[in-house]
């Protein structure tokens, strides 16, 4: 049965999450399907950040570091406070998550911490051909000595879990294909081998259902600027299961992770719980924006959001198959994150032509057009619109124009 434009409008009219779109500002004339790369701007972010700058910094000045009870704006507590709000979206306890540094830096911290927790084991197992910063950071750690990296294809993970493995570090949702790993099963396999499991949730948090607690995951981390809507280069977060608190140690041991940061002691003493994952002074302005981004999930059930994203992706695939059969479907039909990937030999130029017409997805080498479907602001009519423009771009052949062939720095 052919799906019509009216069908998609009817789906939107019945959508229990439709209210959430008003929490964002989407530019006129833009169909934004790249929230998996950079989330859209929440309506409250500018006000929240402006208040942090003008009132908290400008008027409160240094006093704003103190807690409200001490007459401050509570900046010192923001990493734990915003982390605690992210926790709900990933199945962690509020005291298991903290906002700090970048995804890359947190990969290094958690991997190094895991190695110390498994003395006598040196191997970190990771997946080849996924978003590479995790591998790059692990390569950096390995070059410092004491770690060995075992990079395997996804069907080689289980076989790589020998008794020399300290850590299985995986990216939960694949950045290019959107394939989602079975977190509980792979964590159990790591544990059966005597290893710890750490999950990169960058493309998962706010997109798919994640339950770190139920999966018995040991560690996790992720970025703040994709589905969490924290803004470009938002601070990242890290999770360590409560059962490991007090035991893990990480080597990027800066003063904010110290048990008594303002005692200025000569030797490092790790602070309590996930506080010891802090390193330098927390990025207050970026955390304010991240807090506003995470707040777009207030009152939103993650199971419902994940189901809506899956349904939007299914609709997109169905419409592409109906109207643009020249594209390959480069993602799983099931077990997929909040994104869909199409393959085409001219993927780059086609994506540039789409962007030129206001339909924003992104390109991933060598031949992938990637489209994200964040449940909070993407509608069924947007999916209809995107496929209609895609069909028009293919029919007109306008993607062959010279300006769409020219490579940009960020694609």
């Amino acid at each position: 049965m052919t799906i019509t434009r009216d069908d998609t409008l009817a789906l939107d009219a019945a959508d229990p999450l439709a209210f959430a779109r008003a929490r964002f500002t989407i530019p006129e004339g833009v169909t934004y399907l790249d929230g998996n790369s950079l989330g859209a701007l929440p309506r409250r972010t500018a006000t929240r950040v402006s208040d942090t700058i003008t009132r908290e910094w400008g008027e409160g000045l240094i006093r704003s570091w103190n807690s409200p009870a001490e007459g401050g704006a509570g900046w010192i507590d923001q990493p734990a406070k915003v982390g605690g709000k992210i926790a709900r979206l990933i199945g962690g306890r509020a005291d298991e998550v903290i906002v700090t540094d970048s995804t890359s830096i947190n990969v290094f911290k958690l991997a190094a911490a895991a190695l110390r927790m498994r003395p006598g084991r040196k191997v970190i197992v990771a997946e080849a051909d996924n978003f590479p910063t995790d591998l790059y950071m692990l390569q950096g750690l390995a070059q410092l000595g004491g770690a060995e990296l075992r990079v395997v294809p996804s069907d080689g993970i289980l076989g790589a879990l020998g008794d020399d493995v300290a850590l299985l570090m995986l990216i939960h949702t694949h950045y290019r294909s959107g394939r989602v790993h079975d977190m509980a099963a792979l964590t159990a396999a790591a544990h059966a081998a005597g290893a710890l499991a750490c999950w990169d949730l960058s493309h998962s948090a706010g997109a798919v259902e994640v339950d770190l607690g139920a999966a018995q995951a040991d560690m996790a981390l992720g970025c703040g600027y994709k589905f969490l809507n924290g803004g470009p280069g938002a601070p990242a977060y890290a999770y360590v299961a409560a059962r490991h608190h007090g035991q893990f140690e990480q080597p990027l041991s800066g003063w904010m992770g110290h048990a008594a940061p303002f005692a200025f002691e000569g030797d490092y003493r790790a602070g309590p719980g996930v506080r010891r994952l802090l390193s330098g002074t927390p990025p207050v302005i970026g955390m304010a924006a991240l807090g506003a981004g995470v707040a777009t999930f207030d009152g939103v059930d993650m199971a419902a959001a994940a189901a809506k994203s899956r349904a939007l992706g299914d609709l997109f695939i169905t419409l592409v198959e109906q109207r643009c059969p020249e594209f390959g479907i480069a993602c799983p039909r099931d077990g997929r994150g909040a994104q869909v990937s199409l393959s085409h030999a001219s993927a780059y130029a086609i994506m540039q032509a789409l962007i030129g017409r206001g339909v924003i997805g992104d390109f991933r080498a060598p031949d992938i057009l990637r489209f994200g479907f964040p449940a909070l602001y993407v509608r069924n009519i947007d999916v209809w619109q995107a496929v209609s423009v895609l069909a028009a771009v293919m029919q007109s052949g306008e993607w062959k124009d010279a300006q769409h062939q020219k490579r940009r720095a960020v694609t």
Copy 2:
């Protein structure tokens, strides 16, 4: 000869840098002498950040990563661009400085890079009893193996530079006393021993004259939220002398430091020059605020700014000696940064009483009252006002009140 209030007003009237104060918003009734901890809010920051959020992020969305020539806001170039502007203030070339991560994280990167550049040498010499995050990070690096930390008092630095030393890492201006090291002489001593020299400029950049090039410094780093006015938790910066470009390698090798970040290659290949100091995705919103902070130095000669700060500090010391002789002068008369430290057994409570009266400095354990004199916004009349309030607080004994004794988290 006794200095009068009118004398300080006359000094302000003759101040060639007086114009710069209008670049900041200082709250009514506040005498802000803590810019060495958190710089005051520049007048343009809120607008600049708001534009980054509302126009660049909200409207440009993912496209803003691209350069202006490609229709973007140039986010991808911001770390180098803002770094290039900081370079002028510290005697570096524009292509020798990049904005990235925190001071703490950059300590780790540069120290690890130095160790690789001096194979066969394992020792890092650092100074005891200075701002401790540098030591904490070096302790973390040493625990990963391959490095040995030699922490010595300031008069033991030269004697510690044996032929096993890879790196001399020093904080240029002491956080508590304000004492400034002789960068050229100590760098030369490190080089004579075959070691590299790295300088933490957190309390120096924008405060005192720094000429990394003339001193032949190898590496440097510093924070953005003190005299550079970048806002709470602003991104930090790092410097590597051009003669080392292409040779140094750092282990926090995230995707943004890769030679081709968007090629998503499986193996890390370090990018050109200081670009390889990048790790994760740059904090765009924080960089916008930092850029506005650094811009407060536009048209300001650092020699003139440093001289003004010294003169303000001298005036403060003279007035304290005239009116509050019960305080010790806990900083050098010469060779001092843009700050003055007083000592008193009840320093904490006295500082709380001062803050209660709108004179904001800070306390550093165990007995130091610290006052900063950023040249861009502190006036001679502010110095008069601060010492007048200090004298009144001591005469009234109000600092003995219970509310001033209670410790706050951030002091």
